[in-house]
Point group: none
Chain length 410, copies 2
């Protein structure tokens, strides 16, 4: 037996006045999603807990079967893992930007004209801090002006604030500890020393002489945000012996899946935006499924449309996801495959943000207790046979259908 | 956005033979409660947990969003807080009666002829215990023969038994520790020394010479019961920045709301009994709602009728609550207001006590995912779109609708 979990980012919504009191899911043409609901068993799911708006990073940890309230350690490490950075438990990782600041430390350009940061890769590969010589520091350019910073050593904490002021025209911030621990104080101190050191080092880089001569902003600072440690989890592979794959573009989702022991795949034309090529993802799933027990397919777009407050765009994305599901319905051998369709959170298109309402869930496959729900939406699924479950409970339900769960007791 | 939570004390019931297998809610005329269910989303709620009969004090803590199993510390402090006594975390408070005991300590009259205890206010304002000089003791007459006793100091515990034998003709009891902790031993010792000291002090009060001459029972003892500390909670105001108000008469409900950071209101004619003026409470809600995010309206009566085993009286109370809800439906601006209608526990009119069945819940307002339930009762709400939730989950759901919940993760 195999399983596919299809997670539509921010797919669920609240009823919208502009859709005559329907949600975008209720208003969309989605015969394939409805077919999954009709053939399967449905329910609603509190990804974190009732009334708790999930962040995407914590939400996907929950859908992988982990208790986000226990294991979540911030976004930075997930994003770094997703970008291919190697981390160990206890590492503290940040997302960062190459930026341009003036002599007073005021941010002139948060992205330094979208500089290609890889030019600094070698130059910044051997950083040592005078006050913290025991801490290993890695500055790893990822894509464009983006980078990851990894701190490795004893006694670090992810509970420190950003140095990125998140706006041009503001001074670069001092990192402060976010709890009273020794580790947080120490880490904030490290971040501040590192920030200062990087400003000095980068200012001296020959590229900046060239840039200034050419009238370009110098790339003379790194802004850090989203401190995180790898989540405190055991890979699903170790716990359940499950061979998992992830088809996703979003770095935090890829990071969570990687730390859970999944192989990572992307798909041609998958952009992480509303223009993403959904069908291309389905084809990757079709291709790799023979080699795996479980494929986790995360698809963006609906969330973006909600954050932009555009219900009609959200409907279009849903209809594209529906076609993707239709491709899978046609191509996969369903006599030996389960499929769950759900969302990682509800995004309110009116409020343009994540909200705490439960998400719909439909689960089809050879041995589910199919119910009478015949459409896939927030309200129809609430009448389903799964009732109301928590996000972290979905994975055990699926692993059990795959015969991977051990008896508790004897 | 604003919200009103209407809690009918003991509103829910089990099916009764005397009502042809219906519950009082099912038998009552309640078009306004039904309207809330019809326009809203419904569910059932285990206030403490499935099959666990809630006490009113713990139940209302749960409905305020706290985990009663974590935070509950007995009734005494809630009642003292509700009576206006100022408490700090760690204080141990008792409810008490001014009473009359004979020379052997046998209780002659648990209420000392319903004496007005305030005559002792000043006389008992400076109590010091010989063996525990570090403990501050306050004896605070509240209403009639009732009082609160507050112990303040290091190393106290609420895990001690009552001195009140709860019946005339029995000896005043020695308080004993209810767990093995040092603190409980110490507190029981304090309570026993205090009880002895108060007997001596009060016997010497001039009023008792007068009373004996007039043939009245002397007021020569204080009986203590219901030791409690303030619940281990953070005010909702601090955690969520929510401005809350409580409209209630019941001291424990008022105490819980006060400790949660709510302003307290009562209403003319609100008695806490079956004769309470429900409409008067609705008018207070109407008046104060503009100043608050959240109004918690607790209404007694149905519970009293159940404890008396009178289903027809319970139906009458339900119909009165229905009119109260009707007033709100007419007067409030529902384009910006949510309303939840529920109960703090099920009270079995047959058993005349609280039982562990879930309570019905209906939630209406601008953005709820309204379902097809069209009446408000224990059974109809079980088919609703909220499914089955826990008592402590209602408040986050409502706060999320008010936009007060923060994202977990990022």
């Amino acid at each position: 037996m195999k399983a596919i979990i299809v997670v539509g980012d921010g797919l669920a919504d609240r009823p919208l006045k502009s859709l005559s009191g329907r949600t975008p899911l209720e208003a969309a043409l989605k015969e394939n999603l409805d077919a999954v609901a009709r053939e399967g068993v449905c329910g609603i799911m509190d990804v974190i807990g009732p009334g708790r708006p999930p962040g995407s990073d914590a939400a996907n940890l929950a859908l992988l079967g982990y208790d986000p309230l226990e294991c979540y350690r911030g976004r930075g490490a997930l994003e770094a893992l997703g970008a291919g950075v190697d981390l160990r438990p206890g590492d503290v990782a940040f997302r960062g930007n190459f930026a341009c600041v003036d002599e007073d430390g005021v941010v002139v350009d948060r992205r330094a004209g979208r500089v290609e940061g890889s030019i600094f890769s070698e130059y910044l590969s051997e950083i040592r801090l005078v006050s913290h010589p025991d801490v290993e520091v890695k500055v790893l350019p990822t894509l464009g002006h983006r980078l990851a910073v990894v701190l490795r050593g004893e006694g670090l904490s992810w509970k420190v604030s950003d140095t990125d002021p998140h706006r041009d025209g503001m001074r670069i911030l001092r990192s402060i500890p976010l709890d009273g621990s020794q580790e947080a104080w120490r880490t904030a101190d490290i971040v501040n020393e590192l920030t200062q050191l990087l400003r000095e080092l980068m200012s001296r880089h020959p590229i900046n002489r060239e840039r200034v001569e050419m009238g370009l902003p110098p790339v003379n600072a790194i802004l850090l945000r989203g401190a995180g440690e790898p989540p405190a989890i055991r890979p699903l592979k170790e716990t359940y012996g499950v061979r998992g794959a992830c088809v996703a573009v979003t770095p935090t989702v890829r990071g969570a899946c990687r730390w859970a022991g999944f192989d990572l795949y992307t798909a041609p034309g998958a952009t992480g935006g509303v223009d993403t090529d959904a069908l291309s993802k389905a084809k990757v799933v079709e291709r790799i499924l023979p080699e795996y027990d479980l494929v986790y397919l995360h698809i963006k777009g609906a969330d973006n449309a909600s954050h932009d407050g555009d219900p009609h765009l959200k409907i279009k994305v849903i209809e594209k996801i529906d076609l993707m599901v239709g491709y899978l319905l046609e191509k996969i051998d369903w006599s030996e495959t389960y499929m769950a369709v759900t969302a990682d959170h509800t995004t309110s298109t009116r409020a343009k943000e994540h909200v705490g309402d439960p998400v719909p869930l439909a689960l089809k496959g050879p041995e589910v207790r199919a119910d009478e729900v015949d459409s896939f939406s927030e309200r129809s699924c609430a009448r389903g046979g799964l009732g109301r479950i928590k996000g972290k409970e979905l994975m055990p339900i699926i692993l059990d259908l795959l015969g991977k769960m051990e008896i508790f007791g004897s």
